[in-house]
Symmetry: C2
Subunit: 448 residues, 2 copies
C-alpha cells in the first residue's frame, strides 16, 4: 500500500527533488530566521545571483565533482548550467562589479546530479546558506569570525553537541610534499583524504595506492599525520616536527592555525574546535584554512531511520556534517581580466540536514498565523461577515472566514480548533441589532 | 566608456538575467515583507516546489507560450524543464498529495526564454508571488478575496493609482460563439485578444483575419464587444444583450461578475475595479473569472527610461501590469489519475515590475542593520576589541569591527558614517584601566 502510494507520488516529480509542505515551510522559516538574524548581527549585507550561470563560469572550479553539474539544453544562445554552489557565483559577482571588500550572506538553492539520500536530507536541489568575507585584511580575523558564526548558529538552533574541525590547505600540501607525493598528484590525493569521514583509512590507502598510483611508503607517512587531532598545542608540536618543518607552506599554515586559536580563545569557542589533519574538503578552490562542523549526537537518530531505505552502507558512516567552509584567495582572480586577487573566507551552513533534524524533532506546528475567525451563528449573514472581515484586514488583523454562504457554526468552530486559531468572532441576528460582536476564546469557550 | 563596461559585465552572465546587489536586496526584502504580511493576514500557508519539473508536467499548459520553456540537457535520466510559473507546479502538488482545499502563497523564481526588457523589469529569470485558494466553495467568495488582496498590496506599496480589470473566460468564449468564431479557434483567438494591451485594435484584427483565418465579420463583432468597459451595470446590460444572452456560458459568467461586484462593494474596493471585455490573459488554463491590475501613472517614468535601450516600440505601449490571475478549475484534474477536479482561483503579483519602480523611487537605503562599531583609539587593542564584540554578539547586538590589527580611529569613524552605523564603542588604554567603554553617537559626536 505504501509502495503504491510512493510510486504514484514519484511519478510526477524529478528524482531527488521534493516539495516542501506548509509544516516543513513553517520549520524552514524558523531556521532561516535564526540564521539570518546571526548573519545580520555580524553586519552582513545580502545579494542574489541567477540560478543558472554561463557553463564556462563553472568549468574547472569543482575538481572531480564537475560531473555533477546540471547543464541546460542548447536551445540557441549561450550554454548554461545550474549553479553548483553559491561561492563561484559570488566570486564571479565580485570580479564583474570590481568589488574589493564586502561581507555578504546569500541563501539560495543549488543543484547537483548526485545520488540523493533523501531521508538524510540530501537532495539534488538543496539550499545553501553562505556567509563570506571578501577583502585584504589582517590574518585570521575574518576567519575566526566565520567560526564564531558557526558556533552561534549551532548553539541557537539547539541541535545537540557539535565539534568544528579545522585544518589548512597549506598544511595538507606541505604534508603531501614532505611525504613524497608528486606535485601533480596533490589535488587528487587531497580528494582521497577527504573521504576519510566516509571510509576507513585502509580503504583510503587502497585508493591512493591502487587507483591513484601513490607509493605505499608515501601513503603510510600520510596515514600517520592524518590521524592527528588537537588544539593549539598540536600546531606548535608540528612546527617542531623535523619533517613537517621542512615545508615553508606547512609552517605558514601552522602559524595561522595558532593565531586562529588565539582569536577563538577570545571568542570563548575553543571548547568545540579541533585541529584535525584528516580534514581535506573536496573543493579545488580552497587556499588556506578550512573547517567543517559535525554534530556528535544527532547522527544516531537519522542513521537508524535511514537503514530501511538506504542500502548503501558507506553513507551511514558519515553523519552530521552541518557546516563547512574555508579560505579561497584565488577564486575571484580567475574571473578578473587582469587576474586581480580578492582574498575571501566563508562558511556554508548545511541547512537541509538541519531542516531534516528539526522536522524529526518538531511536534505540532502552526502553519498560519491567523488570530481570529469571522463566523456566523445563523444563516444569511455572509454580507455581514464580509464587511467585518474587511475591517479586520484593513486594521492589520490576521483573519479568516469560511467560503460558504451558510456554514454551520460547529464546522466553523472545529476549523478553528484544527488550525489553532485562538479567537472567533460570532455574528448573530441579536448582536447585529445591538451593534456588537460576540468574541469567543476557542480553547476555553469563554466569551467576551 | 559606459559601453565598454557593459560589454565586460555581460560577458560573464547569461542574457536576460541579473544579480541583485545589497541595495536592491534591501528593497526586495521590504517589498516581500509587505506582500507576505498581507498573505499571512489572509490566513495563507506557504509551500515550495523544485525549480525544475518533469518536462511532461509542463506540456500542454501554456498554449503558444510553451516555446519559451527552458529545458535541461538530457544527461541520462528524466527530461526536465525549468518551471514557467508557480501555478502548474501548485496544481501538480495538489493532485500528487490529494489535497482538496488549501490557501497558500508561494514566492519563487520562474523562467521564460522571452525577449528580456531589463530596464522595465522584464527578465528571463524573475520572481512570482502567488496567492491561491483551492477548494469547492460558494461562488465568487474566494475570487473576491483575491481582488481584495491585490487592492491591499498595491495600496500598501504606495506605487501610485491603479485599476483592476476583470473579465471571465466564459464571457469571452460565449462572445466568440455568438460572434461566429469556430469552436476550435477559441483559444487562438483568445490569445490574439490578449494582445490588445500591447497592440491597436486594427493590428489585432489583422492578426485574427490574416493569420488566424477568422472572417472579417466575426472580427468586427468581437471588436464591438472588446471595446466595452464598466461595472456591475455593464454586466446587467450584457445579460439583456440579444446576442450575448444566447450563450449560456456568457450568462453564467456575467451573473458571476455581478456577484463579484456585490462582494467587492462590501470590501469597499469597487472604485479601482473595471469590468473590461478586452481582458483575455494569455494562459490556456483559466476557466472563469480573470483579472489584471495596472498602474495608471507609474508607467510614464519607466517607459521614458526604456526608450534608449529598447527599440521594440510595441513594448512601451503596455506599461504597468503589476498583478494578474483568475480561476482555473480544470488544471488540478489534469494531474489526477482519476481526473478529480479541485477548483482554484489565484493571483500573481508582478513583483519584478514593482522592484524596478521601488528602485527608481528609493533614495539612501541602509544595506545592513549594524547598531554599533567596536573601535579602538590606540594600537595593540585587537584582543580587547575581539573580546568586547564577542560579548555584544552573544547579547544579540548587531556589531562590527574592522579586520585590522591597528586601524586608525578616523577610518573606523568614517566607516560608520558611510555605512550608517549609529553608535561606536571606542576602546582606549585609559578606559580599559577604568574598566569602562566610551560610547559615541556617530551623527552628533556626543559621548555617553
Amino acid at each position: 500500500c505504501i509502495r503504491t502510494r510512493q510510486t504514484q507520488r514519484f511519478n510526477f516529480m524529478s528524482h531527488g527533488t521534493r516539495d516542501y509542505n506548509p509544516k516543513q515551510m513553517a520549520i524552514r522559516e524558523k531556521v532561516f530566521n535564526t540564521i539570518i538574524r546571526c548573519f545580520k548581527r555580524h553586519g552582513a549585507e545580502t545579494i542574489d545571483t541567477p540560478v543558472f550561470e554561463l557553463k564556462e563560469t563553472l568549468t574547472g572550479k569543482y575538481g572531480e565533482d564537475s560531473k555533477l553539474i546540471y547543464d541546460l539544453k542548447d536551445q540557441g544562445g549561450e550554454l548554461l548550467s545550474l549553479r553548483y554552489d553559491l561561492t563561484v557565483p559570488f566570486a564571479r559577482y565580485l570580479a564583474m562589479n570590481k568589488i574589493t571588500n564586502i561581507k555578504r550572506y546569500h541563501i539560495a538553492k543549488v543543484y547537483r546530479r548526485d545520488n540523493p539520500a533523501m531521508t538524510r536530507g540530501r537532495y539534488r536541489e538543496f539550499y545553501q546558506c553562505d556567509f563570506d568575507i571578501a577583502g585584504q585584511y589582517d590574518a585570521m580575523i575574518p576567519d575566526a569570525e566565520c567560526l564564531k558564526i558557526v558556533h552561534e548558529i549551532l548553539n541557537e538552533l539547539d541541535l545537540g553537541d557539535f565539534r568544528i574541525k579545522v585544518n589548512d590547505r597549506r598544511i595538507l600540501d606541505g604534508m603531501f610534499a614532505v611525504c613524497g607525493v608528486p606535485d601533480d598528484k596533490f589535488r587528487t590525493i587531497c580528494s582521497t583524504v577527504d573521504k576519510l569521514d566516509k571510509m576507513s583509512w585502509e580503504d583510503v590507502k587502497k585508493e591512493m595506492v591502487n587507483e591513484k598510483g601513490l607509493s605505499e611508503e608515501a601513503a603510510d607517512q600520510i596515514g600517520e599525520y592524518v590521524s592527528m587531532q588537537g588544539g593549539m598545542d598540536l600546531a606548535e608540536r608540528l612546527l617542531q616536527d623535523h619533517k613537517m618543518s621542512q615545508s615553508k607552506q606547512a609552517c605558514a599554515g601552522l602559524s595561522d592555525i595558532k593565531l586562529l586559536f588565539k582569536y577563538l580563545q577570545l571568542f570563548h569557542v575553543t571548547d568545540k574546535v579541533v585541529f584535525d589533519l584528516s580534514l581535506a574538503r573536496g573543493l579545488d578552490y580552497y587556499t588556506g584554512v578550512i573547517y567543517e562542523a559535525v554534530l556528535t549526537q544527532a547522527g544516531t537518530v537519522s542513521a537508524a531511520n535511514e537503514a530501511q531505505n538506504d542500502t548503501n552502507a558507506e553513507e551511514s558512516v558519515s553523519v552530521g556534517s552541518v557546516a563547512g567552509g574555508g579560505r579561497y584567495d584565488g577564486l575571484v582572480g580567475m574571473f578578473d581580466p587582469k587576474g586581480r586577487r580578492v582574498p575571501c573566507v566563508g562558511v556554508s551552513i548545511g541547512i537541509e540536514r538541519i531542516f531534516s533534524i528539526m522536522e524529526q524533532k518538531a511536534e505540532k506546528v502552526r502553519t498560519t498565523e491567523v488570530q481570529i475567525m469571522v463566523a456566523s451563528a445563523q444563516k444569511n449573514l455572509l454580507e455581514e461577515r464580509l464587511q467585518l472581515i474587511s475591517e479586520l484586514w484593513n486594521a492589520g488583523i490576521k483573519a479568516e472566514l469560511m467560503y460558504k454562504k451558510n456554514p454551520k457554526l460547529l464546522s466553523q468552530l472545529q476549523y478553528c480548533e484544527e488550525a489553532g486559531i485562538p479567537l472567533v468572532a460570532i455574528l448573530g441576528e441579536q448582536e447585529l441589532k445591538d451593534g456588537v460582536v460576540k468574541l469567543r476564546v476557542v480553547a476555553t469557550r469563554e466569551e467576551v
